[in-house]
């Protein structure tokens, strides 16, 4: 049975269902059992499962990551939650030197079935240290799976897959996505890693958006529709391993590829996807990377608006790419409820 629920409800449901079916699954992290319950994503889990299965930890990201890893190699399945990506930087030694290499470094005798959840912040003055994305740094490291689901349906399904996986999974969320609502089946289900989702069909330009930028890409496609440009909007869902085939199939048709990162551009997913498409075949295409301005994230809204791309600025860049005109301004007024992605497809 399917019904409309929010992104955080989808996360909570996935974790709850997996905790019901596997007593080895437990949650740890700063504030996971407090009244705010990580923006509601862990609400009710303490009451349902008790303090053995969900507990607060000291402000000690590196140590706690190593402790979660130690529990994972001993047969447990920890879900370690960080309310911002930025805090994961304190745990980079454990994530890169230990977690990612646990299976390989000991010749396959260990596995590290653990999920590291972390939310990207945006807006309301998040500023330089509450707005960063960690996936471009971590997609450079073999051994980690990285996911960044956009829709509630994908959030639930890929969370279940992440918990069930014997590999460590970096689970990237976005604060703005917590307002997303969509059709989500009530029962437990897991989605495969490495399968991108097509959010809109089109033949004129391939538009790939990571995490919340997938929503901005949908907004851009709505703007572009008014001038007869139809974007094929793709949400990678999984960043490692990347579903390059789905992107490539579209690029072969559109000959134009735009990737919108939820990060700065150097060494990020835009560079990776464009390079991979060039390497994969002899299709000639034009490409464009979009993402954060090359500055730390400012706090004041006037500068923050210039720091991020959004539906309108993405649409303008694409219009320029296709029609060589930089003066066009879309008439479309973005109504969130109209463009937000709702379907489970």
């Amino acid at each position: 049975m399917s019904r409309i629920i929010s992104y955080p409800e989808a996360l909570k449901e996935a974790m709850t269902l997996e905790m019901e079916s596997d007593e080895h699954v437990f949650i740890l992290g700063q504030g996971v059992d407090d009244p705010k319950a990580i923006l509601g994503t862990t609400a009710g889990i303490l009451d349902k499962f008790g303090p053995k299965r969900i507990f607060d930890v000291p402000l000690a990201e590196d140590g706690i990551t190593g402790i979660a890893l130690g529990a994972a190699i001993a047969g447990l399945k920890p879900i370690h939650i960080h309310i911002r990506n930025d805090f994961l930087l304190l745990a980079m030694n454990q994530i890169v030197n230990m977690v990612a290499k646990m299976r390989y470094m000991y010749g396959g005798v260990h596995t590290a079935p653990m999920v590291i959840r972390a939310t990207i912040g945006k807006s309301w003055g998040q500023g330089p240290q509450h707005s960063q994305s960690i996936y471009p740094m971590l997609m450079n490291v073999p051994g980690l799976r990285i996911v960044a689901p956009t829709t509630p349906y994908d959030a639930k399904g890929i969370m279940a897959a992440s918990i069930r996986s014997s590999d460590p999974v970096i689970f990237i969320e976005h604060r703005s996505l917590y307002y997303q609502k969509g059709d989500v089946p009530k029962e437990a289900y897991a989605l495969p890693f490495g399968k991108a989702r097509t959010l809109a069909q089109g033949d004129d330009v391939t538009l790939v958006g990571v995490s919340q930028m997938a929503i901005e890409c949908l907004r851009a496609s709505k703007c572009l529709n008014e001038v007869g440009i139809h974007a094929h909007v793709i949400d990678p869902v999984t960043i490692s391993p990347l579903d390059i085939d789905t992107i490539l199939t579209s690029v072969k048709k559109t000959k134009h590829l735009v990737v919108v990162d939820n990060s700065w551009l150097p060494g990020a997913l835009g560079a990776e996807i464009i390079a991979a498409c060039h390497e994969s075949q002899d299709c000639d295409f034009k490409s464009l990377r979009l993402g954060f301005a090359a500055t730390p994230c400012p706090t004041t809204p006037s500068l923050e608006d210039a720091f991020y791309v959004d539906g309108v600025s993405i649409a303008k860049k694409i219009y320029h790419m296709l029609r060589h005109d930089s003066d066009w301004i879309p008439n479309t007024i973005i109504h969130r409820e109209e463009v937000e992605f709702k379907g489970p497809f």
């Binding site: 706690i64 890893l69 130690g70 230990m98 010749g107």
Partner: protein, 324 residues
């Protein structure tokens, strides 16, 4: 007389373990110029007795974790000797199938859970592993060996805090050889008592051993293990010891001038291998030595005869199954 000195069987086991570690390390020194050992080696010569005394007081199912100076711990806990030499040779029959080398030895069946080349990174790992034992009521305890240099890392203190807060069944053993590579403990810390003061501040039961008598360690850790199994929370040992070889490699390093020969000579005069050997009947001692040397020779031959991993195996064990 302590219980440990009454037990001939224990004395024989301790001697066998000390002799094994010393002679494995010396065999590595002999082999090193041949370039057959494809790995940096951080030898345990001089420090054997700490691992032996502690590990003999543990069950096979108890887990130990340590650093890249981990040969003594691996062997004292019963890690497979053939697989160790094969790993040093980079062979596919090694305990890490050639992916580990000397610095990442593990033998999970023997309770050697992990060693790591990033200092202190196995301390939280050990706390988490031990936490999982309590979570699953296995009755097993964890032991983490950490050097006096590694103890300065932040994750050690983060781990102490968690271990105390959750009453994790973990014993942390600081092997204090007084040097972080070439830097003396007192150039990095205000006083000799700093380590114990740190550990005590986390309200752990702490004990310092001024030398590395394996029987004293065995007796003490036996009691600690019982307390850990009863759920009383983490404990800490600081044990002084001495690294006789250079930080990494098979030679000595007195020519560097950062420490004098007398510092090491005073430890050599109380070499636990010789001391424990004198407590055994000569015939018993000789038989142990013959058996161990034969075992080492067989392990080296096993490593020599084993194949290298094929280049096509490069991608194995990066990720789990494709269908996940």
């Amino acid at each position: 007389m302590r219980t440990s000195e009454n037990s001939h069987k224990l004395l024989e086991e301790v001697y066998k373990s000390l002799f094994l570690i010393r002679h494995v390390e010396e065999k590595i020194c002999d082999l090193y110029p041949t370039d057959k050992i494809k790995s940096p080696v951080h030898l345990s010569i001089g420090q054997e007795a700490v691992s032996v005394g502690v590990c003999k007081a543990l069950t096979r199912e108890d887990g130990v974790m340590g650093s890249c100076r981990g040969h003594a711990m691996y062997l004292a806990k019963g890690g497979n000797l053939k697989q160790m030499f094969a790993e040093l040779y980079g062979k596919r029959t090694g305990c890490g199938k050639g992916r580990a080398g000397s610095m990442h030895l593990a033998d999970v069946q023997a309770g050697v859970i992990a060693t790591s080349a990033i200092m202190a990174s196995t301390v939280p790992l050990a706390v988490g592993w031990a936490y999982a034992q309590a979570y699953q009521n296995t009755g097993n305890i964890g032991v983490c060996f950490v050097g006096d240099g590694a103890l300065d890392e932040g994750c050690v203190h983060e781990s102490f805090l968690f271990a105390k807060q959750k009453k994790v069944p973990i014993l942390i053993v600081c092997e204090n050889n007084e040097y972080a590579i070439h830097s003396h403990f007192l150039t990095r810390h205000p006083s000799k008592d700093y380590i114990l003061n740190w550990a005590s501040s986390y309200e752990m039961k702490c004990k310092r051993f001024e030398d590395d008598d394996p029987l004293a360690l065995y007796d003490y850790v036996g009691g600690v293990a019982d307390e850990l199994r009863s759920g009383s929370g983490p404990q800490f040992i600081e044990c002084y010891t001495s690294r006789w070889k250079e930080h990494v490699g098979p030679g000595d390093d007195f020519k560097l001038g950062y420490r004098g020969t007398e510092e090491v000579e005073k430890w050599k005069r109380k070499d636990q291998l010789i001391r424990i050997g004198k407590l055994l009947k000569p015939t018993v001692k000789q038989k142990i030595e013959q058996n161990v040397l034969k075992e080492i020779q067989e392990a080296v031959e096993f490593a020599e005869c084993s194949p290298f991993p094929k280049p096509t195996e490069l991608y194995e064990n990066v990720y789990g199954g494709e269908n996940e």
